[in-house]
Symmetry: C2
Subunit: 286 residues, 2 copies
């Protein structure tokens, strides 16, 4: 029996997934969260499917040692490359950010022309077009990789002529084909939402999958009878943060995204969560 | 006895170190090379000393299994954070790119005012000022981190108004203090040497540590009687390339740096080269 009071595991390549964690905190405030950011190996966006699957598998194993009741892959690249394979290996529910983003985009579009921007990996995986075609064969989707957006965000150039110029270059082809909906397919992109919106123009709806992901997680927990009713009390150990690199740096950036005081970020050795490590509750299906 | 025909180990966080490998191939063409690029965990520049030391130690252990006769840390961040500690643990000579860069800068400067640009990690380590002060207490050195240069190079914007603009911002303070010598303290930077040179102006000498590193390596091998005399013959297995992520991507970028056909890049699991792994010739000093 799964413990209803168990935490939800949320992971990302680094700090970006905190935008998803924040949305979960907002929509289901009674839920406890264990967050893992793979800051020693970030970014994921320009690495291979094999490598991202291996990293994600190690993280899922770590989260299982934390006895989580569900896992959210808050990273688009991990959702695109690794989720399908890993969810078959574990006996707790897993959700990613891609499907929720696709659903939100299909709800928002009026002319059926959807754009999606993301890392090289996410776009090359062609997972967005695949899901969209599955849900609505008439919809038309165009992907565009924007590799410089993450470094620009991390350099703090959220509102800057250089970011404007790069956005104009990346987005030109999406404007040309007259999309009316754009999925922000990387957790960093909502942070430059204003720049992207300005370039795309007012007629284009920007979809942030974080909101829809938290909504879908809530729905999933409710359906399985796993939604925590108990209200969070002062002194509860609600949120725990783990990282693979130094926790100091993580806390700095994290605090610019989440206002909750991230006091307890701990560094762990993620590489040791290998296939050979014995993990309670781990179900071998492969 | 070290085998004079053994290869030289060269490592980097990814592809950038190939600029150093290329210089070694050019200056000591009889030497065999085993190159490792940590493409699964790249970049190193924004990660902590602890993480970079751990990664570098794994790589050094891997290179030792390849029976190398010397090791070159071709990455500035690894040279800055990890070299001092790791060279005490191994019984083969190791050199980095920082000391050679410092020597070249001290030779080049006329007014004693030297600038160094690099990753956040390299600049924060303050290793360049430390070495320069040791070699010439009168010299004046100013460091500046340029985190966007690597993503801009990797996006191919080697000659581009955006790179010009970012370079003007990063370098402004170095121009203001009237340096006459600038160390390109990251292996990617020589690829935008033209942009950096244009912004700094003709009076400023740009120092690429790769040249001096290869020269110093040659000198070191000669001193220890390890310089390979035997001329490379057609069919010799001269250069081997290993990476931690997919080798396909590596080969693409690598071939834009080195014209030698990189046919044999292999992916290895670098994480398994842990302290507990038994390695022949490994001398425990700690």
């Amino acid at each position: 029996m799964t413990d209803i009071n168990a935490p939800i595991g949320v992971f990302d390549s680094g700090v970006g997934g905190l935008t998803v964690a924040k949305e979960i905190m907002h929509q289901i405030p009674n839920e406890r969260i264990v967050y893992f950011g793979d800051t020693a190996r970030v970014p994921y966006g320009n690495k291979s499917k094999e490598t991202i699957t291996k990293f994600s598998r190690q993280i899922v194993r770590f989260l299982q040692t934390q006895k989580v009741k569900a896992i959210v892959a808050a990273c688009n690249t991990a959702s695109a490359f690794a989720l399908d394979e890993i969810e078959r290996e574990v006996d707790i529910p897993m959700i990613g950010v891609v499907k929720p983003g696709v659903k939100a985009a299909l709800k928002a579009t009026r002319n059926g022309k959807i754009g999606v921007i993301g890392t090289e990996g996410t776009i090359a995986s062609r997972i967005y077009p695949q899901y969209i075609k599955e849900m609505n064969p008439d919809a038309n989707i165009t992907g565009k990789a924007c590799p410089l957006f993450v470094p620009l965000v991390e350099e703090g150039l959220w509102r800057d002529p250089v970011t404007d110029e790069i956005a104009r270059r990346y987005l030109a082809e999406l404007i040309d084909i007259d999309i009316d909906t754009l999925v922000l397919g990387c957790t960093h992109y909502p942070l430059i939402r204003e720049t992207i919106g300005k370039v795309m123009g007012k007629g284009v709806v920007l979809v942030n999958p974080a909101y829809e992901t938290a909504r879908e997680l809530k729905e999933l927990l409710r359906r399985r009878g796993l939604l925590r009713e108990q209200e969070a009390k002062l002194g509860d150990d609600m949120y725990q943060f783990y990282v693979s690199d130094s926790s100091e740096k993580f806390k700095q950036f994290a605090n610019s995204i989440i206002k909750y005081g991230i006091l307890s970020a701990k560094t762990i050795n993620i590489e040791k969560y290998e296939r050979s490590v014995e993990i309670t509750g781990w179900r071998k299906k492969y």
